[in-house]
């Protein structure tokens, strides 16, 4: 039994192996992009929104509201990142119920990539918000003696985020696989439902944690605070 879709190689050329993780990620990306394009291709301000547009607006506004409840800074920029994280992880989890589809979030490579994105985004937002010196000063707060611990904390974010998501998705897939061999008619369905629930929860947690990390990085006072209405 393959624990990760990384081991499923679909095409290989030279040293590059096109595995199921990448292909399934493309599928998720295609589904999200196609659905977004279909919903937003004919937006007119003078026409009332249809049901799909209303659904898309509701999802986007819910994400935006969640971000706004955490931080008032750079809401739209955080929305692009955290919203994409949430939609990608949630869609990957939903597609996990399709027979033969292995969720790309069940790959440690995927979760590590997502975590690295967050890891790079946190200093990027912090520097863009408060400046480079303010960002560096965070590592010596409250004392320069805590610099190693602060660096360790940053690294632990990467580990906790990536392992949490990977472990939950992978374990769900493993449990379903085990139950399929024991009781193939009833329990896998229940576990798939649990897997869906867990996938949605993990998507929410991953996005919220990313927002919290970015928000915490931007909570330091600015070196040259802009006018309040520039937010």
């Amino acid at each position: 039994m393959d624990l990760t879709p990384d081991t499923i190689v679909l095409w290989e050329y030279g040293g590059f192996r096109l595995n199921a993780t990448i292909v399934n990620t493309w599928i998720v990306m295609a589904v999200l992009t196609l659905a977004s394009w279909l919903v937003t291709r004919r937006l007119r301000p003078d026409v009332p929104p249809g049901r799909w547009r209303t659904l898309a607006e509701t999802i986007v506004l819910m994400i935006e509201e969640q971000i706004r409840s955490i931080t008032p800074h750079a809401v739209h920029q955080i929305l692009y990142l955290a919203g994409s994280l949430f939609l990608f992880i949630a869609t990957a989890g939903l597609l996990g119920v399709v027979p033969g589809f292995r969720s790309p979030t069940g790959s440690l490579s995927t979760t590590l990539a997502l975590t690295l994105v967050v890891l790079f985004a946190v200093p990027a937002f912090s520097i863009s918000h408060g400046g480079f010196r303010v960002y560096l000063r965070n590592f010596i707060q409250p004392s320069i003696l805590l610099l190693p611990l602060n660096l360790l904390g940053e690294a632990s974010k990467v580990i906790s985020l990536s392992i949490r998501l990977y472990g939950n998705v992978m374990s769900s897939a493993v449990i379903v696989a085990i139950l399929l061999s024991i009781a193939p008619f009833f329990f896998p369905v229940i576990m798939d439902l649990f897997g869906l629930l867990i996938g949605m929860i993990q998507a929410y947690i991953f996005a919220v944690l990313a927002t919290v990390y970015i928000s915490a990085a931007m909570s330091q006072p600015r070196a040259n605070p802009p006018p309040e209405d520039s937010l």
Binding site: R17, N19, I22, T25, L43, S109, L114, V117
Partner: protein, 256 residues
């Protein structure tokens, strides 16, 4: 649990691409659409408010014109009432004038009828009275009316001798007029009575059917007469004063 770093890099690129795609096809269209819709709603609200304001001003103008029309209507009604009352008063005045004129004409007509009636009555009364007097004289004194009249005029001449002499002047002529031809003896007696006062005077006798019964003696500018008319004038005066007499003499439709 292994990490394929090529897959990690690929997933990094994929996710960054996904962020760009979602930003391009989901977030920006949705957020911009919401902003445009809010702007559209605000614009429409502003337009609606403007239209509402226009409607309010139009309503105010309409109400103003309505009030103005009502005032004009009241004014027109008042003018029409005044004109109607004026026309009515004019018609009433004209009707009153016509009634007054008709009443006057009616009174003139009645007066004319009354006069005609009185003239007829006087004429008839004259004849009746002369006939009654004539019969009374004949029955009581065995004398004719003309003889009595001649004797009465003869008595009246004596006190008027001077006056008559002055009136007759040098002509020495006088005329006697009666309704019926006067009998020869009576003519001679009247001639004798007058000659006794005015010697040499000549009388010319004539008769006139239109004259009232009696005798009229004309001497120049002097006039001595006795006719029934003088009695009839008295009769008419008494008739006008006595309603009972009028009731008797003026039956149905002749009393006014």
């Amino acid at each position: 649990m292994s990490i394929d770093w090529i897959t990690v890099l690929a997933q990094l690129a994929n996710f960054l691409l996904l962020i760009w795609l979602l930003r391009r096809f989901l977030y920006r269209p949705i957020l911009d659409g919401i902003d445009r819709r809010e702007a559209e709603i605000s614009r429409r609200m502003a337009e609606a408010e403007e239209v509402r304001e226009q409607a309010r001003s139009a309503e105010a103008r309409y109400m103003e014109q309505y009030e103005k029309c009502l005032a004009e209507q009241d004014s027109m009604v008042l003018r029409a009432l005044a004109a109607t009352e004026g026309a009515r008063d004019q018609l009433m005045d004209e009707a009153h004038d016509r009634l007054e004129q008709e009443r006057r004409e009616w009174h003139r007509h009645l007066e004319r009828e009354r006069r005609e009636f009185m003239a007829q009555l006087q004429q008839a009364g004259t004849l009746v009275l002369s006939e009654l007097v004539r019969r009374a004289l004949h029955d009581l004194a065995d004398e004719s009316l003309e003889a009595g009249i001649v004797r009465h005029i003869g008595r009246r001449l004596a006190p008027m001798a001077d006056e008559l002499a002055a009136a007759v002047g040098a002509t020495r002529q006088a005329s006697v007029t009666s309704r019926e031809p006067l009998a020869e003896p009576l003519q001679a007696r009247l001639q004798a009575d007058l000659a006794a006062l005015l010697p040499g005077i000549r009388l010319q006798f004539s008769h006139d059917a239109g004259q009232s019964p009696g005798i009229v003696l004309q001497l120049g500018g002097a006039r001595v007469e006795w006719t029934i008319d003088s009695y009839m004038d008295e009769f008419e005066r008494l008739f006008a004063q006595d309603p009972a007499a009028r009731t008797v003499l003026l039956p149905d439709g002749h009393e006014h």
